[in-house]
């Protein structure tokens, strides 16, 4: 039998403020007259969620802000009840939801340890036994009898974390508690969490935005999206999917915000028809893998013949930082452009930029350097992250193919594989 069962659970919140006395009265009158009462639109925080967790599983829960993570934890911790569906939790739950919820500023560290631990359900005898350990872990030996309102915020967090992690329950619920304090303490916290998880054999649910920690600690990851379970599986797979979705969302946001920022100038001699990205299969696309081929196809109508014009195609970032530009000026025998429709392909065999959103610019000058056409943000495209980017937050702007010579022996670093091909 599963230790946690979530059966088709939905949770709705009503939007807006508390009903005023007037609205309540109006609604009451309407109900008496058997007219429908004015309802506020409900907001679905969780939408028909359905899964179960077995004894001893360490489950990570990830998702964007507002995906329903905290609502789910609240339901599991019995703080609130579902609107529809049912939840069965078989065992004692220790919710470490937001470290420090129960700390009282006026009490000393010692008093807070007893109070907060009792709130978390630790018996007095247990607290007395664990007291010294809590104090030494939080490194507060000298301040334990000082009211915590005199503590620095780091000290408070250390204390809260030490108390929270001394709970011993069948089910641990951890929300956003991993990344606390300075680097050294974070490391300590992390080790303590791992010990807690590995040695206890308890069932653990972790919510975090730190996907790497989730990957390391969990045996299973749930990806939530708009109140639904979007993915449920092995940490690497789900994290990968999450990164891809986030990138898509980021580039979608970028595109939206850039839509109005197309800067175009034309003397009238040239009319732009289309700017597209073409992939290896000769299809129109708007994503390319990092290090892959960038092929921009520009289609335009020439209204007045131009003699040996100079064509420039380049890329820039979403904040208009020019990245590259290539010109046909150096081509000796570049052709004239007659009246009619022309098509120009600009090919970069290995486009070296890291994952992100970039834009295409295009310009035409006549042989006397007169501006005929310029345009920015003509096409927005996304470079997909490599699987390596998924593991490391990229500490670089460029991807360059490299060779290594280690103690005289040649090595080549593996070619980065785009997540698209990796997951295919």
């Amino acid at each position: 039998m599963s230790i946690i069962e979530v059966n088709h659970v939905s949770k709705e919140y009503r939007l807006g403020t508390l009903t005023s006395l007037k609205d309540s009265a109006v609604n009451m009158v309407r109900r008496l007259r058997r007219q429908p009462a004015i309802q506020r639109t409900p907001f679905r925080a969780l939408d028909d969620m359905d899964f179960s967790i077995e004894q001893g599983e360490v489950v990570g829960i990830i998702g964007n802000n507002g995906a329903g993570k905290s609502t789910l934890l609240k339901l599991l911790a019995n703080v609130t009840t579902p609107t529809n569906g049912s939840i069965a939790v078989r065992g004692k739950v220790a919710p470490l939801i937001e470290v420090g919820a129960g700390l009282i500023a006026d009490l000393t560290g010692r008093e807070n340890i007893y109070l907060n631990a009792t709130i978390l359900g630790i018996s007095r005898a247990d607290i007395a036994r664990k007291f010294d350990e809590i104090v030494s872990f939080s490194e507060l030996e000298d301040f334990i009898d000082t009211p915590i309102k005199r503590y620095s915020s780091g000290m408070k967090i250390r204390l809260a974390f030490a108390i929270a992690t001394s709970v011993n329950a069948e089910i641990l619920i951890i929300d956003e508690v991993l990344a606390v304090g300075d680097l050294a303490f974070q490391r300590k916290c992390f080790e303590r969490m791992e010990n807690l998880i590995k040695n206890s054999g308890n069932t653990v649910l972790i919510v975090s935005h730190n996907i790497r920690q989730i990957e390391r600690m969990c045996s299973r990851v749930l990806l939530l999206d708009q109140g639904k379970v979007a993915a449920d599986g092995l940490p690497l797979d789900v994290a990968d999917m999450f990164y891809r979705r986030s990138n898509e969302k980021i580039s979608a946001d970028h595109k939206k915000s850039l839509q109005g920022k197309v800067h175009k100038y034309s003397s009238g001699e040239i009319e732009l028809l289309a700017v597209d990205l073409i992939n290896d299969q000769e299809q129109i696309t708007d994503t390319i893998p990092s290090g892959g081929t960038l092929r921009v196809r520009v289609k335009f109508q020439v209204n007045q013949a131009l003699q040996r014009p100079e064509i420039i195609v380049g890329t820039h970032t979403t904040d208009f930082f020019y990245l590259s530009a290539s010109s046909t000026a150096l081509i000796e025998n570049r052709p004239d452009l007659d009246v009619g429709i022309h098509e120009v392909d600009y090919i970069v065999p290995s486009f070296p930029l890291v994952a992100g959103t970039y834009c295409v610019r295009f310009a035409v000058f006549d042989q006397h350097q007169r501006k005929v056409f310029t345009g920015e943000t003509l096409k927005i495209f996304t470079i997909l992250p490599t699987s390596q980017d998924v593991l490391d937050a990229p500490m670089r702007r460029l991807y360059l193919p490299t060779q290594w010579r280690l103690d005289g022996v040649a090595h080549s670093s593996p070619t980065p594989v785009s997540t698209e091909t990796a997951s295919a």
């Binding site: 609240k74 911790a77 703080v79 009840t81 009490l107 009792t118 709130i119 007095r124």
Partner: protein
Amino acid sequence: MLNIAKNLYEYRELVAELTRKDVTIRYKQAYLGIAWAVLRPLALMLIFTLVKSFVGIESGDIPYPILTFAALMPWVFFQDATTEGIESVVKNSALVRKIYFPREIFPLTAVTTKLVEFCISAFILAGLMVWYQMVPTVYILWVPLIILYTLLVSMTLALIGAAINVSYRDVGTALPIMLSLLMYASPVIYPLQLVKDKLLVQQAAGEWSNLLYTIYTLNPLAGIIDSFQNVVLRSQLPDFSSMLPGMIMTAILLPLSYRFFKMEEPYFADVI
């Protein structure tokens, strides 16, 4: 019923710890500390004694100051416990939103906290008894039962009030005003004997007198205050006839109030 008791037993450490917190933070940065707890009944006693010297209230063979202090002790306990109880859930909204334990712990803790203050004012009462050379008798053993009953009356109001206060904060504001009015309908300034004489002996309201007296004693505090004075000062048994109407009412309302509280409990975290 058994379940409730089991639940309370299971969470006894939490109640104790939360009570300790409430008492500590209340007086932590005050120079006079916990002495403040007894200042209010003491001040009220002095005022009433002063007023009494103008109006003249028959207090029997017991000195008026100690009689009114013995009335103020259960009254102040009841008033403070109820007021704090009603605000308890909202005051702890940080916990309500994060961690589950039975929410009745909050009003219960608020009421228990006031019990601590009640015990401190008991020292003042003892001092007054020494001053007036009154000796406690075995009847004083009734005090715990009377206070337990007062606690239940407080909980009756606190549970329903706290639940409503989560959605409508008006309750937290309105109730203290109503309670201070209730004080005049309780034998705090005057002894219950005065009401008894007027209504039961002199039949001052004609045929309505007996009914009026029953209505008066529907207020549980009427019986509580009188009985407290009886067992502490008069060396008598509690007057059960004046306690009965209030007891019946509490016995009916407390379960209803508890059920209402439990019905609303799941939504506390959403609306608080």
